[in-house]
């Protein structure tokens, strides 16, 4: 049986861009669940400081991160010389996902890797496959 993913929660303490309700609900669920987890005040601050903890997180194997946009998280770690493994990292985005969605993903022992790999861009709506099929 493979090891359970580690859980990392970012509180985004120094900004109000993540909904307070979502942050608090996710943290409360983590505390109620009794699972081991890592909580950090602010990944941005740690990245700027090149905190060695980031390297250790990036080397820990399967990792679920409750924070913000996967693209931002990827490069915050990278700029602290702690590149996250693309196939072992799942980022839950508390800026857009509900607390229920984030907690459900955390409780799922399987990793759904979602860090962007390469220069991805979303094509205009009229060029998406569904639109093309309709046209």
């Amino acid at each position: 049986m493979s090891a359970a993913p580690r859980i990392l929660y970012c509180n985004c303490t120094y900004a109000q861009v993540v909904s307070k309700e979502v942050k608090e609900a996710v943290l409360r669920k983590l505390c109620e669940s009794g699972v081991a987890f890592e909580a950090v005040a602010d990944l941005c601050e740690m990245s700027a400081r090149k905190d060695p903890s980031l390297q250790r997180f990036s080397n820990c194997g399967k990792l679920k991160i409750a924070a913000c946009y996967p693209r931002a998280v990827k490069w915050l770690f990278s700029s602290a010389n702690a590149a996250l493994p693309l196939d072992q990292t799942e980022v839950l985005n508390m800026r857009v996902q509900s607390a229920e969605e984030v907690c459900s993903a955390i409780n799922n022992l399987e990793i759904q890797p979602n860090l962007p790999a390469g220069k991805a861009a979303v094509p205009p709506a009229n060029e998406l496959p569904a639109a093309a099929a309709v046209a």
Binding site: R71, A72, W75, A121
Partner: protein, 278 residues
Amino acid sequence: MSLNQALHLVLYEGAGAEALTPQSRLAAMTTLLDRGYAVSRTNGDIALVQNRHTVVMVLGQFANGNLPPVQQPGVTIRFQDISGLDGAQLAAQVEAFRAETSSPKHGEWKPWFPVIDYDRCTNCMQCLSFCLFGVYGVDTNQRIQVQNHDNCKTNCPACSRVCPEAAIMFPKYKAGPINGDVVSDADLQREKMKIDISALLGGDVYQMLRERSERAKSRFSKERDADKALKERQKCLVKLAQSGEIPAEVLMALPSPEEIQRRAQEAKAKAEAALAKQ
């Protein structure tokens, strides 16, 4: 930017400690995170935690006096019984240990700085030549990098606006793609349009500012009216703030036109030198 190892906290509920209630666990976590600390919550495995940090404070309900064994050379570790402590008392204990170990203090700087998406960056050096505050530099391979995070002006995303590839993020920005959201083709078109408009207007916003200031200066040299000069500059800055979403306080804090010119030339020379070595 302090590179000292930050104090790491462990909320320990393994052997030798009583389990916390979910409510007290949440209260402790919230208290510590709000004060800028990182916390590991563990039921055991304290050896792993010790290996990862050089300054560790282990918090738990150790009222029975059975502390977990600690044998870890090179690690400064302290056990703190938190039985009966309220949030303020817990924070005071942690803060005292932080000061004692000279670990960095948190929260004195809002972490606002550019983060480069190297999947998108083409190393064009526009950001380096644009930023007047010395945030950017190049590494030994002449690759653009963020070197002086602290120099960045809080809430100013101006450099991300000049990036033709939307490769510069500010994770704490309100909107995408600057906040790290996926870059759409429409975003790229918008970024390109901004560059074109800027070029039509005669360069970047600093260039606009310089030209405007020069025009104002020649007028004011005739009029010798310092108040008018100041008003003119303020008007110009407000316009820039409105058009580019650059916080007014950032623009108002810009140095004199002469100093802007000097810094802009310096940044441009740095960018050109880096490009020449590529």
